[in-house]
């Protein structure tokens, strides 16, 4: 299982660095950040904060685009290009395939994040002459855990919806929906009549709360780090959801006829 999954993950990572998407997004993020940083019309204090905020927003967008599009095309591409046949004709189970693709996409997103966060640390370090390493590491780690949930979700989507483009679109809508309104659903539910209220409450408890993983404010405002136990709990929470999505993906894919 692990042997096959790592072999498959290696292929996903190789694909990522042989395609142009990542380089383009990184260069775009870097250029836009540097451009904004070079404009000096606010006072010193504010511009530093805006640059950080802006750079982190770009990193979030770019990482989500890479994670979602990379994951969404994996299994559909295997099927369309028919590489799945020689692959599954080897002692590779369908569970190995799903777990390997998950691992590959997740590790690839992690590598992308490391590059982005190092860039971010260099930029802010140059301006502030000091970086809060623990806080930055937490922000990176939580971001990466969130991408684990995203990758699991999109992988499931790629088995349910055959077309990668519709899967990507639906995934983006769901992810943005959770990030923007996820935390308010319970309050909205309170203000509604039954049965809508209960339904909304259920949704609130069932969805993976990706917004927990957003520690941008802490590093933008140099507000210290989060408690480590909370990071630990969030890590477990993310792994449970990622595993759940993979399990459902496997159940759906397990007996599917391929041809």
């Amino acid at each position: 299982m692990m042997n096959n999954a790592f072999a498959l993950a290696g292929i996903v990572i190789k694909e990522l660095y042989r395609r142009k998407d990542f380089y383009v997004l990184f260069i775009l993020t870097a250029l836009l950040t540097l451009l904004l940083g070079s404009i000096n019309f606010f006072n010193e204090q504010n511009i530093a904060r805006y640059v950080k905020e802006f750079c982190l927003l770009l990193i979030w967008i770019a990482s989500l685009v890479i994670a979602v599009t990379t994951t969404a095309r994996q299994i559909p591409a295997e099927r369309e290009q028919r590489t799945i046949f020689p692959l599954l004709a080897k002692p590779v189970s369908r569970g190995d395939l799903i777990f390997g693709k998950f691992l590959g996409c997740w590790i690839a997103s992690g590598i992308v994040l490391v590059v982005f966060y190092v860039f971010f640390a260099v930029i802010t370090g140059a301006r502030e002459h000091h970086i809060h390493v623990a806080a930055y590491f937490q922000a990176f780690w939580m971001h990466w855990m969130m991408l684990g949930v995203v990758v699991g979700m999109v992988l499931l989507g790629s088995i349910v919806f055959a077309a990668p483009s519709s899967n990507s679109t639906i995934s983006f809508v769901v992810i943005l929906g959770i990030l923007l309104v996820g935390r308010h659903l319970n309050k909205v539910a309170d203000s509604l009549a039954e049965p809508t209220s209960s339904i909304l409450y259920t949704v609130y408890y069932v969805i993976p709360h990706l917004e927990f993983y957003d520690l941008r404010d802490l590093i933008v405002h140099n507000a210290g780090s989060a408690p480590w136990w909370a990071v630990g709990v969030a890590t477990i929470y993310a792994m449970v959801y990622a595993a759940l999505f993979q399990f459902v993906a496997w159940m759906t894919f397990r007996r599917k006829a391929l041809n």
Binding site: T83, P86, L88, K90, D96, L258, N259
Partner: protein, 251 residues
């Protein structure tokens, strides 16, 4: 002789393609055994059910009823595929990988010991004559070269059973001859080869036994030389007779 492939009462139905359509029976109550060391030709016109049968053997498609096993292991177990080499009907490989990277990946899946991987890759690339192109992306290969890369991946684990779906389709006469030589060579090494083909002349020269399938049903199976002797005609004529073909000229 040990049975390498055993198919019992295999039926495969596909759901209707559209409203008002009946379910499509691709394979009907098929019984088939392939013994160790045999070269077995699996014949039938387009749509006869050859690829579908192979898809069941590889676990891609589930039987509607009946069963299939390889080396005595039910085909639904991934371990049944440890000693198989498979060449699909249409070969496409990861576009961003070179031939040697592809083979390295598959070697890993088969858990070939690290110190043997490179020599094994050299060996199969030499066998299919792709050494000169090993560092090129497979997507830049010609069709025949891709087919040979496909054969190389099928051989990477030194399999005891090869399942080849139309291995010579799309190859030039020299390419075909080379595939025949490879099959012959594998046979001499004691391997079992199960392949489908439309090239009856070729089948007649390399196969020990054949089965002819028509519309999902087994029409005949037996040793090539026995069939030719008993029927007093070549394999092509037997094939046409078995599938009920009447030449419009003679009718």
């Amino acid at each position: 002789m040990a049975e390498v492939i055993k198919v019992e009462k295999l039926t495969v139905e596909f759901p209707a393609g559209g409203a008002g359509q009946q379910t499509k029976v691709a394979v009907k109550n098929l019984n088939l055994t392939v013994s160790s060391g045999e070269v077995f030709g699996f014949l039938g016109p387009n749509g006869a059910g050859k690829t579908t049968t192979m898809n069941v053997l590889l676990g891609f498609v589930n039987p509607t009823s009946g069963s299939a096993s390889i080396f005595g292991v039910d085909v639904r177990q991934p371990i049944a595929r440890q000693r198989i080499g498979y060449l699909p009907e249409l070969t496409y490989y990861y576009k961003f990988l070179t031939a040697e990277e592809l083979l390295r990946f598959y070697a890993k899946v088969f858990r070939i010991p690290k110190d043997q991987v490179e020599s094994r890759i050299d060996e199969v690339l030499k066998l299919v004559e792709l050494e000169h192109a090993r560092k090129r992306l497979i997507k830049t290969y010609s069709k025949g070269m891709q087919q040979r890369a496909g054969l190389a991946q099928a051989l990477i684990n030194d399999p005891d059973l090869l399942i080849l779906d139309e291995p010579t389709s799309g190859l030039d006469p020299i390419g075909r001859m080379k595939v025949r030589e490879i099959i012959q060579r594998l046979k001499n090494e004691g391997k079992t080869v199960f392949f489908s083909s439309h090239e009856l002349g070729e089948v007649e020269t390399v196969c020990d036994r054949v089965a002819i399938l028509n519309q999902g049903e087994l029409k005949v199976t037996g040793r090539v030389d026995d069939l030719v002797r008993e029927n007093q005609m070549n394999l092509e004529k037997i094939f046409l007779e078995m599938i009920g073909y009447k030449s419009p000229v003679t009718v």
